[in-house]
């Protein structure tokens, strides 16, 4: 993507800062603000050092941006934000949003989000996104002025469509099923991984007790003393090594989490399709019934049972003038309806086409990213094994000198 923003502009979320302020209800609150730094790439390549622009944003502004993008580009799988609250924690990790490790990982997640948007062929061209990066004041107002909230589909409407749509595109049905399964399996994986980390932490830390007891024991020994003492030191090293190992593994967990949330974005596109399809089906149904009504009035035959027909039978027929008027209204409505249906059909087809193109792009990205994540996880495991071999080999040598 030669013309995507990421190529033209360096974007980083370089700092996080605790702030206090007053919220909408004029109550004091503490929140974290993130520093977004941008720098034009072109100027740099010419040997000049371009100036860095920066502004501060808080998480809720990121959320606003993402909501805007989701509503404005419903056919795009919009990159997700890092989690709002610390989830899938194991005992050593804090569930506190203010915890420095959590804030740090969130900073990285937010940067990743911006880079994802900036490298998306469609999203990167959005003006609101550009302003988010460059315009400190008045951005919120700008977003609200777009009136995107009005375009948002209600949850209820979407749910209704899911149950009642008759002929959704098969590919979207399969994709919806896939995204549900993906969410489920990644959640499960993250939960178990957290438990695994917890247990592994326990195993390593208990070995630290060897360090102390070997030291105490060496005090009463003559020839064995030195060997025991130095071996005990290696046990301490072993016990301490788990902290870094598990910290690194959190990055892997974050990579999985991104795709857990991506599954939701995928689902959102499917939901939009269902909505549009349902809308289309309703419009078609409505048109058909109006045409039928028209025909019945014109010919005077009642093909299907209708309350109007019954009442007119019971209480007398309408005058020909009344009937003419009704037919006219219906004919107008039918014409409108046909126009709308044509438009909706076109929109539907457009949606399916462009959504599917983005989905294909997303699939490739997902396969690539997850493969990289698995490789880096394997590399982490290899490093952990090598460290383990090193420590125990050192300990063995100390024991041999006993």
């Amino acid at each position: 993507m030669d013309d995507c923003l990421a190529k033209k502009m360096e974007i980083t979320v370089s700092e996080a800062e605790k702030r206090t302020g007053r919220n909408a209800m004029n109550m004091q609150e503490t929140y974290t603000a993130y520093l977004i730094e941008t720098r034009a790439v072109e100027a740099q390549s010419e040997g000049q050092c371009a100036p860095v622009d920066s502004l501060w944003r808080r998480y809720s502004e990121f959320e606003l941006l993402r909501n805007y993008l989701s509503v404005t580009y419903p056919h795009i799988v919009v990159p997700p934000l890092p989690e709002k609250r610390a989830d899938f924690v194991w005992h050593k990790l804090s569930a506190d949003n203010m915890d420095p490790d959590f804030v740090e990982r969130r900073r990285i997640g937010l940067e990743n989000f911006l880079l994802r948007v900036a490298s998306h062929p469609v999203l990167c061209q959005d003006k609101i996104f550009y302003s988010f990066l460059t315009q400190e004041g008045g951005w919120k107002e700008m977003v609200n002025e777009t009136g995107f909230q009005l375009k948002a589909d209600s949850r209820l409407k979407a749910l209704n469509a899911t149950f009642r749509v008759k002929n959704p595109d098969k590919r979207f049905t399969e994709l919806k099923h896939y995204s549900d399964e993906l969410q489920s399996v990644i959640s499960h994986l993250l939960r178990v991984r957290a438990r695994v980390a917890d247990r592994l932490y326990g195993v390593y830390k208990v070995h630290g007790n060897y360090g102390r007891v070997f030291s105490e024991w060496s005090a009463i020994e003559k020839e064995m003393g030195d060997g025991l003492q130095s071996a005990g030191h290696h046990m301490d090293v072993y016990a301490a090594s788990i902290d870094d190992i598990l910290e690194e593994e959190e990055h892997y967990a974050d990579q999985l989490k991104e795709y857990l949330f991506y599954a939701e974005a995928l689902r959102a596109v499917c939901r939009k399709h269902e909505l549009m399809q349902y809308d289309l089906e309703m419009a078609a149904q409505d048109l058909t019934s109006k045409k039928q009504q028209c025909e019945e009035l014109a010919t005077g035959t009642v093909r299907t049972f209708s309350l109007k027909g019954m009442t007119s039978k019971l209480f007398g027929q309408e005058t020909p003038e009344q009937r003419e008027a009704k037919i006219k209204v219906l004919e107008e409505q039918i014409q409108e309806g046909e126009e709308q249906l044509k438009t909706k059909n076109l929109e539907g087809r457009d949606f399916v086409r462009s959504a599917w193109a983005d989905i294909e792009r997303f699939k490739e990205q997902k396969n690539h990213d997850l493969k990289e994540a698995l490789i880096s996880y394997a590399v982490m495991q290899i490093s952990m094994c090598k460290k383990g071999i090193q420590v125990w080999t050192n300990a063995k040598e100390c024991f041999s000198k006993m």
Binding site: H188, L189, W217, I220, K371, L374, A395
Partner: protein
């Protein structure tokens, strides 16, 4: 499998003349066969008239049986029992279950290979059960009270918690029993013990057990150590030091035992989670197309790590913990020997005091008190010699034990490393473009 006995010297059984004489005067290892050696050290000697002395010039009292054994003990202290000088090999193996009407129990095969004259045959193979080992140990404690007797694995097992007929339990016990006999075999005094001989050779041990009391008196075991409730004023410095050492030593071993058990527990809990973790990757693989193989690969990898971890925990349970516990038991029995020594010394001191109070004008010290003094000196000498031997063996045993522990952990990590390294190419593999 039990360690195979080292090959016997190819020159055939050693002649009696070549065996070192327990009462020889020479300070070098070469003993002139000036006297007919008798391996039965419990019987009083007929060579009491010979003027014998220790290398340092101290005259040796050959009238008491204890002194000769302690002499042997001290002289053979530096004897490096390598393959060349060894003449007795004992192995415990081949556990078998016996189901009888009254009970079910396990017997082990005890194989002996030897060139010693004390044995009628060069080879023996008998079957013994735990009871028999327990009997042997008690007999050794009775007949060699001045020596440190190696420990047996624990007698009682809590029914329902441990399956005493499981392969793992039986194997662990077999190893401990083998170690027990080997330690006795290596001891220059204990290995010549009559009861030990019978244990290794008798077809019907029970018959011998019944004769026990009769045999004892026939042997003239007059060395009775009175536990007459004498109170020792103060333990000599060196034995006090040993006592303190043993206290701290068994305390530290207890701590190590608890730590090792905790580690095994944590590892097993880790294993439980890993067993759930691996298959989730597989499930995920089922959802994917391009990622299917990589995810399956990771799943298999985690599975391999599970197997490796299982093996590590098993090894630690079966090989590491029992040896620790053996040494704790060893320390306990050694502390008891120290107490017995205290008793002997206390008796001597009490008797000495009693005589001193009488203020009798005596030309010489009564023989009764002489014998007491003798006992104290012999006990001290035996104990010191055994302690030195014990310290050496302990050092080797722990060196081997801890190196073994390190080794098992290295092997565990190497297995995991191999598993993860092998899937890197699989993960990096570029599938054919669709």
């Amino acid at each position: 499998a039990a360690g195979a006995p080292k090959p016997l010297p190819s020159s055939g059984p050693k002649s009696l003349r070549e065996m070192p004489h327990p009462l020889a005067t020479s300070s070098s290892e070469e003993m002139g066969p000036a006297l007919t050696p008798s391996p039965d050290l419990i019987q009083p000697r007929s060579i009491a008239d010979k003027d014998l002395s220790l290398p340092n010039g101290t005259p040796v009292d050959t009238s008491s049986p204890a002194s000769s054994s302690s002499l042997l003990n001290r002289l053979q202290l530096d004897d490096d029992l390598d393959g060349e000088t060894r003449d007795l090999f004992v192995t415990v193996d081949d556990p078998k279950k016996h189901v009888c009407t009254m009970e079910t129990y396990i017997t082990y095969r005890v194989t002996t290979k030897t060139t010693r004259a004390e044995f009628d045959l060069p080879e023996y193979s008998v079957r013994r059960r735990y009871q028999d080992f327990d009997w042997l140990r008690n007999k050794l404690e009775e007949s060699q009270p001045t020596h440190l007797i190696p420990p047996l694995p624990e007698k009682f097992v809590v029914k329902g918690v441990v399956d005493r007929f499981s392969e793992e339990f039986v194997e662990t016990r077999r190893k401990a029993l083998d170690k027990f006999l080997k330690r006795i075999t290596d001891h220059p005094v204990l290995s010549f013990n009559e009861h030990f001989n019978v244990f290794l050779t008798a077809k019907d041990l029970n018959a011998y057990k019944k004769q026990g009391m009769a045999l004892l008196s026939k042997m003239g075991e007059s060395v009775k150590y009175v536990t007459g409730g004498y109170k020792l004023r103060s333990r000599p410095l060196e034995f006090a030091a040993i006592g303190e050492y043993l206290d701290t030593f068994s305390l530290k071993l207890g701590t190590i035992d608890r730590i090792a058990q905790r580690i095994i527990k944590e590892q097993l809990e880790y294993l439980v989670e890993l067993r759930e973790y691996g298959p989730v990757y597989s499930t995920w693989g089922g959802l994917e197309v391009e990622l299917s193989e990589p995810l399956e690969g990771v799943s298999a990898c985690v599975g391999n790590c599970c197997t490796a971890l299982e093996e590590l925990s098993e090894d630690m349970t079966e090989d590491f913990l029992p040896v620790l516990r053996e040494y704790i038991l060893y320390s306990e029995s050694m502390k008891n020997v120290l107490k017995k020594r205290d008793q002997v010394q206390a008796e001597y001191e009490a008797k000495l005091e009693a005589v001193a109070l009488k203020k009798e004008d005596r030309p010489k010290v009564p023989t009764d008190i002489e014998k007491c003094q003798d006992r104290v000196e012999c006990f001290n000498a035996d104990l010191k010699a055994d302690m030195e031997r014990w310290q050496n063996n302990k050092r080797q045993d722990f060196r081997q034990l801890l190196m073994g522990m390190a080794d098992k952990n290295i092997q565990y990590y190497e297995k995991c490393l191999t598993a993860w390294e092998s899937i890197i190419p699989l993960l990096q593999d570029k599938p054919e473009t669709k």
